[in-house]
């Protein structure tokens, strides 16, 4: 099982990359917790989560091949 994680905005700086991969992660909450323990600064940043190009609210189960995006507040325009 492999999950692709896309990072945007200031998160690319904090994590030093814009794409990550994570094995064996059952849901988005677990994914966020694992990243937070690896990158302590992450807990201070507000972000939305999208799974397969759809913004989710709350926790969502993940299956092999899914793409999770972590998106800090938008600032287009």
């Amino acid at each position: 099982m492999n999950i692709k994680i896309l990072l945007f905005g200031r998160l690319t700086e904090l994590l030093g990359q814009s794409v990550l991969h994570m094995e064996d992660v059952s849901d988005t909450n677990t994914l966020a917790q694992r990243l937070s323990s690896q990158y302590p600064g992450l807990a201070q940043i507000k972000y939305q989560v999208a799974v397969n190009q759809e913004i989710i609210h709350g926790n969502k189960a993940l299956t092999d091949g899914m793409t999770v995006a972590l998106m800090p507040p938008f600032s287009g325009g």
């Binding site: 896309l6 945007f8 905005g9 200031r10 999208a50 190009q53 913004i55 995006a69 998106m71 800090p72 507040p73 938008f74 600032s75 287009g76 325009g77």
Partner: protein
């Protein structure tokens, strides 16, 4: 079922005055249009401490942005009697004084074009996954936040 056609809104670099003129010119043949409303976002050279913003570097989650823009487009056409709607947003580094957002609505009577344009700008800023990194004159940077 109607085909869901995602239109690209992203352009690399600044949006030129010529691009805007060309877009206006194309509407001269649409003789049921009585009103055009245009919004342009221009990069400001804000003062940040003793530095200035030299430019903004834009990145986006393009696939999600185009999906979201499709939804917004459908909702706006549902709500207002528009003839046309065009949206362009820059990616990459846009220098202060240059244009990074071009929103263009047209309708028979003025109210629809004006209100749709205002609502589009608000929704684009609030809902599209786009990020602006302000590059300061000393080459340091900070992440922009929409108010």
């Amino acid at each position: 079922m109607r085909e869901k056609k995602l239109r690209n809104i992203f352009v690399n670099g600044a949006i030129s005055a010529d691009t805007i003129a060309e877009s206006i010119r194309k509407h001269h043949t649409k003789k049921d249009i009585g009103a055009h409303s245009i919004f342009l976002g221009q990069v400001r050279a804000d003062e940040i401490g003793d530095q200035q913003v030299a430019g903004i570097s834009y990145t986006a989650y393009e696939e999600l942005a185009l999906e979201k823009m499709y939804e917004i487009r459908e909702a706006i056409f549902e709500k207002y009697p528009l003839t046309c709607m065009h949206v362009h947003h820059s990616l990459g580094l846009i220098a202060a004084g240059e244009i990074c957002l071009f929103v263009f609505t047209s309708s028979k009577h003025r109210k629809a074009a004006m209100e749709a344009c205002d609502e589009l700008v608000e929704r684009i800023k609030a809902e599209l996954p786009i990020w602006g990194k302000e590059i300061l004159t000393d080459e340091s940077h900070q992440w922009k936040e929409n108010k």
